[in-house]
């Protein structure tokens, strides 16, 4: 029944595209030594997504047993070639994709079957790769919507976000769609922070921003992590991201190719050769 409607869809659901994904993504096969370091399965981290298998609708599997985890207050980074399934993995962790296998746990609790809204209520926040702001709403309204589920006073959190991203305070009455790319990313991250999340998930927060703004954003992300917020993020700028990462995962074709601390991955000759370009 649902099948029959598939070709009729458009307009709804995610439109996750990126300028780098046009045409066939380069094929990179998982390396022999997948086990640079086993993905942390036995040890349960604060946020653990284990052996995830799943795809969009009834389509083929995009995730083939991928595992990611992030410890409290630490930064975990997912890197990998275009089309590897990084965004898909993020969506799966956030419950926007039905998993065929695997589990997601948050602070020891199994949340695999929870809806995204319920995950928001449990302290998770997600900044998607594309369309991650309300373009027609003002900056301030974007932040308010981030705090939609909160019933308490949000003005303090809003002040904190403005302290983190001062430019947003200046532009708070402007429609977010009229900001520059880098400023929009700040709105997107700010919106996600408004729930006072325990886990912040970022899908390519630095996409399309200049190197200076990128460094700035990375600094802010480190700042957020220092406040005890767990961060799971996907990054295209692998080298810089791994430098600030406590844990790093290299995803290839929906599976873990390598994982280890950021330093380990940067030092791993296989990772360097096949992924970081020497």
């Amino acid at each position: 029944m649902t099948e029959a409607y598939d070709p009729l869809r458009d307009d709804r659901g995610n439109r996750d595209i990126s300028i780098t994904k046009i045409g066939n993504p380069p094929v990179l096969t998982p390396a022999e030594n997948r086990e640079t370091r086993p993905a942390p399965g036995a040890v349960r981290a604060f946020l653990t997504a284990e052996a995830m298998v799943g795809g969009y609708g009834r389509g083929a599997n995009i995730l083939n047993g991928c595992t990611v985890a992030a410890e409290k207050g630490q930064i975990a980074v997912i890197v990998g070639p275009n089309g590897a399934g990084k965004s898909t993995a993020m969506k799966a962790v956030f419950g926007m994709l039905e998993l065929r296998q695997g589990t997601v746990t948050l602070d020891g609790e199994d949340i695999t079957r929870l809806k995204p809204q319920e995950r928001v209520a449990r302290g998770m926040a997600f900044v998607p790769q594309t369309r991650n702001i309300f373009a027609s709403l003002s900056v301030e309204e974007n932040l308010e919507m981030g705090a939609f589920l909160r019933r308490d006073d949000i003005s303090r959190t809003m002040e904190q976000v403005y302290t983190l991203f001062p430019i947003l305070k200046e532009k708070r009455r402007q429609p977010a769609g009229e900001l520059s790319g880098g400023q929009r990313q700040q709105v997107a991250v700010g919106r996600a922070l408004m729930t006072e999340p325990k886990v912040l998930m970022l899908d390519e927060p630095t996409a399309g921003v200049s190197p200076i703004v990128m460094d700035e954003l990375f600094d802010r992300i480190i700042e957020v992590a220092r406040q005890g917020i767990t961060i799971l993020m996907v990054e295209q700028n692998a080298r810089q991201a791994l430098e600030i990462a406590d844990m790093g995962y290299v995803l290839v074709q929906g599976a873990n190719a390598y994982s280890g601390t950021g330093r380990e991955l940067l030092a791993d000759p296989m990772v360097r050769k096949s992924f970081l370009g020497g």
Partner: protein, 336 residues
């Protein structure tokens, strides 16, 4: 040359009727545009939703009048309006539950929903005719005029009279109140902002914990209120007839599209643009021009661009022109 008389004729036959009609269209178009913005389809059943709300309001009005309840100089229908709105809200919420939700869950494309809404339109069409019949129903009571033509002539000494019917004043005032409430709601309240957020970016709204079903339900209730109010005002100003309300669909859609679908400000502007165009194109300007030209130069023809039977052609023409040259409407709306 008698410019004052020309002005009075213009106000009397063009400006006032068009303003009242424009307010009615604007309220109708607001409903269409909200549905489009939130549920992402063009609701063809909107005209019949208006008819349903009006029909219920009329029945309650008759019941009130039968019981001897009136609203002083104001039409009794205004007292009955809340009941009409409530009944319409139940109807559209029920329709959503039993029909639209099925397609929403399957993420059907907008074009499918448009066809579905046509089905709903036919059903509502039948329900309305079943409830109140196909005849013209006049349900206006209370004071007829705020300013009547003879009184105006006597007071001003002008040759032309100006009539301001109370239904026209009520239309404008009620529409203004409704629009002010709507904008206050959308821009100032948490729920209203969440509706705008949902309309802007559905996925991100979900990620922010905004519940789509709640947004959809509130949208239907607001639409029911707007549609019923628009229908009742139109009925008070003219008269109620099921078929006329179905025909209103064209100017209402034209208004919403001209203004930019999904954009409430656009819907209001569009309503007045369509109403003024329709009235001005179909009005015979001879009298106005005669007053403006020096004596002896009176035009011999009617100076009417199009006869009133063709008034729908005006909406249609504007619609086509806008879709050709500016598909997103005059204000920034979603493209059709």
């Amino acid at each position: 040359m008698e410019p004052l008389n020309a002005l009075v004729v213009f106000l009397n036959f063009v400006f006032i009727p068009a303003a009242a009609y424009g307010a009615q269209l604007a309220l109708g178009a607001l409903g269409v545009t909200l549905i489009y913005g939130i549920l992402r389809f063009s609701n063809f059943a909107h005209g019949d939703t208006m008819a349903f709300g009006t029909a219920i309001t009329i029945l309650v009005t008759f019941a009130l009048q039968g019981a001897g309840v009136t609203f002083g100089p104001l039409p009794t229908a205004l007292l009955a309006l809340p009941v009409g709105i409530a009944a319409t809200a139940l109807l559209v919420l029920g329709t959503d539950r039993s029909v639209y939700r099925f397609y929403r869950e399957r993420k059907a494309a907008p074009v499918i929903l448009v066809i579905v809404s046509m089905g709903v339109m036919f059903v509502m069409n039948g329900i309305v005719r079943f409830i109140i019949g196909v005849e013209d129903v006049v349900f206006t009571d209370g004071a007829r005029f705020v300013i009547d033509a003879r009184g105006f002539r006597e007071a001003t000494g002008l040759a032309e009279g100006l009539a301001l019917r109370s239904t026209q004043v009520i239309t404008l005032v009620t529409a203004a109140v409704a629009v002010a409430l709507l904008f206050w709601f959308l821009n100032r309240t948490r729920t209203g902002k969440s509706m705008r957020a949902f309309s802007d970016n559905e996925d991100l709204a979900l990620l922010s914990g905004i519940s789509p079903e709640r947004v959809v339900a509130i949208t239907w209730i607001i639409v029911a209120a707007l549609a019923t109010t628009a229908g009742v005002l139109y009925g008070l100003d003219k008269s109620f007839k099921a078929f006329t309300y179905f025909q209103l669909l064209l100017p209402i859609f034209a208004a919403a599209i001209v203004g930019g679908l999904g954009n409430p400000v656009g819907a209001i502007a569009g309503g007045f643009i369509i109403a003024f165009s329709e009235v001005m194109v179909t009005y015979a300007w001879r009298k106005v021009v005669a007053y403006l030209l020096p004596e002896g130069l009176e035009p011999t023809s009617l100076l009417q661009l199009m006869s009133t039977e063709y008034k729908f052609a005006v909406s249609f023409a504007i619609l086509v022109i806008v879709l050709l040259f500016r598909p997103t409407g005059l204000f920034k709306g979603q493209s059709v």
